[in-house]
């Protein structure tokens, strides 16, 4: 089973993680995301509703995607972050940069 699905709707792209966002899925997800952005995706949302942990490589992937989108006046957002992931991203000072919203309790 793939660790994520990508739902595309025009220029919008939603990456729904079915598990954790870390080094083990990095290369595959990076390739898929690059393809989406190259094909015109301008709004990318990472849905972390089922994600327990992200690590520094996962954070780096989201920053790289953010940078690619910013060059095209696009936007990245992170939705449904758990309280622990929200706190981690806040400690990294990335809440505003990555437009992070917390999972509803």
């Amino acid at each position: 089973m793939k660790a994520y699905t990508i739902e595309q709707n025009g220029a919008e792209c939603r990456v729904v993680l079915t598990g954790d966002l870390g080094a083990s899925i990095l290369n595959e997800l990076k390739t898929d995301l690059k393809r989406q952005i190259d094909q015109g995706a301008l709004q990318v949302v990472f849905d972390l509703g089922k994600t327990c942990v992200i690590d520094s490589s996962g954070i780096g992937l989201m920053i790289a995607a953010h940078n690619s989108l910013a060059r095209k006046q696009g936007r990245l957002a992170v939705a449904n972050a758990s309280p622990e992931i929200f706190q981690l991203l806040r400690s990294m000072r990335l809440i505003e940069r990555l437009n992070v919203s917390e999972r509803a309790v």
Binding site: A23, D55, G60, P83, E84, M92, R97
Partner: protein
């Protein structure tokens, strides 16, 4: 059995091949181990620290050489949790690596800052191919699931350390 878990000290020792799939399996084992109360308040920090150090050992320390091994040791005591990860690479000059946060548009450089944020103490051996981390095991009274409007117990020490890194 809740009472016996709360006061129990235990150890875990694993010898892994340098493969991310083995890191993933060990992290899931840790998650299962730390999910029950009263260890749950430490679960996120333990798994995050384990992931960061194991990924580093596999990808950087052993440079992806599957013939080299990574040794993981965990000791969960009554007051402290200690993790240790060593690899068979040449090590790195950890004294020259910044623990401060990188620019918020940098897509790398957050591994060590995360270790410094979530571990109360961080120690490398001289060669730089073995790292040991300590985190305080929360008192049992602090072991509560996050509730609406309340930050989880495990987030509290991070806030304290955040100001240290920011200064």
């Amino acid at each position: 059995m809740k009472g016996s878990v709360s006061t129990r000290s235990f150890r875990l020792h694993r010898n892994l091949a340098s493969r991310l799939v083995e890191v993933e399996a060990l992290c899931h084992e840790l998650r299962a181990l730390f999910t029950p109360e009263p260890l749950a308040a430490s679960a996120f920090a333990v798994e995050l620290l384990a992931r960061e150090t194991l990924n580093n050992a596999v990808l950087h320390g052993n440079a992806g050489d599957e013939g080299k091994r990574v040794v993981f040791e965990l000791h969960c005591g009554r007051k402290w949790i200690r993790l240790s990860v060593s690899d068979q690479g040449p090590g790195f000059n950890w004294k020259n690596r910044p623990q401060a946060l990188p620019s918020d548009i940098a897509d790398g450089g957050r591994g060590l800052p995360i270790l410094a944020l979530y571990a109360e103490r961080l120690q490398f051996n001289r060669a730089g191919n073995r790292v040991t981390l300590w985190l305080r095991r929360p008192p049992e009274s602090a072991n509560q699931r996050p509730q609406p409007g309340r930050k989880p117990a495990a987030a509290q020490p991070i806030n304290q350390l955040e100001s240290r890194i920011a200064s």
